[in-house]
Amino acid sequence: MSSLAVNVELPELQNPLMPYLRQDRIPHIWCPGCGIGTSLNAFIRALDEMQFDLNKLAVVSGIGCTGRVAGYLNVDSFHTTHGRAIPFATGLKLGNPDLKVVVYSGDGDLFAIGGNHFIHAARRNMDLFVVCVNNFTYGMTGGQVAPTTPLGATQTTMPYGNFEPPFNLPYLADSCGAVYVARWTVYHVRQLTRAFKEGLSKKGFVFLEVLSPCPTLYSRRNRLGDGVEQLKYYKEKSVVKNGADTRDVGLSFQGDIVVGTFVNRERPTWLEAMNEHFSQRFGDRYQPYGVHRED
């Protein structure tokens, strides 16, 4: 026992996260300094710490850099068309209500092309866990202005600075009716892991925004340095305010970042509301859907 480090052949030891990944696809295509890998790392650790039953998990991604998460995770996953991750996940959830469906996608996919699906899934309180990795730009297509690009940031299609006001994503999710809204950055790895655990165990529409550096496009166009420089900026400028009013958590270019769990409330999910409504309407003639499996 005392001379363990000498006896054990260290190179044969494998990263404990590797069983959760499709190892034939590793190394992944994300750039050096990109935060998507770190956010996925936190997600896998949350699954590992919860001992989550992987047969009851489905991961759905859209298109984009973050959309490749579904391809790297060694669970049941689907890589959908652009922006349609939430409709696909809704169908998956309603087809098999005992699945936990996680939508893991980027800001361009969820809020530009799929923005309409997002607000309606939140309005219905569909039982989904939506993770949005927000890197303020369209990474895969070359750094165009996204609906989350802060005012004043330079992008390929806005060479003199962006003048379009961006979305405040937690406020959007909150006002549409999400039951859990949180924002963390990839600097806050432990809090992010905890937020993933809370999101995986929460019922209803859960929204988690993860701020992530994009060193190749967003940071380079704005001369903000590499991924580490952005993480240091997150470390300096982020303020933890749990329960903050989501109207006040908007982001500005290199300004303060309010992080934390903003909303945590209870509302009947779409399936519960449907079962209750039809049970009241039709009494014993109605067979509740998905209830017998939910224990």
Partner: protein, 90 residues
């Protein structure tokens, strides 16, 4: 292979240097600053982290939590045997 641990070292890192992309997250955010860039390159041309001050490593695994490429993780010496038993099944 890891250096011969001194009495102070509580843990070590395990690195798969071929999948490292040299982003330096682990080097910059190591709580004890025991990592440094290597002098030589891996097969893809990146500098990978090396345990420059092995006596300072506590095996806290924060490098493993930050690593976007799943290349590095820390382990405490007391957990090494448990991990080695788990490895073949994984």
């Amino acid at each position: 292979m890891v250096d011969e641990p001194t009495k102070k070292a509580k843990g070590t890192i395990i690195l798969n240097k071929e999948i490292c992309k040299g982003c330096s997250f682990c080097i910059d955010f190591c709580p004890t600053h025991c990592l440094e860039f290597s002098k030589d390159f891996n097969r893809k041309g990146y500098h990978y982290p090396v345990l420059a001050r092995p006596e300072d490593c506590t095996g806290c695994d924060l490098c493993g939590l930050y690593c976007p490429d799943y290349a590095i993780f820390g382990v405490k010496f007391k957990d090494l045997e448990k991990l080695a038993q788990k490895a073949p099944a994984a």
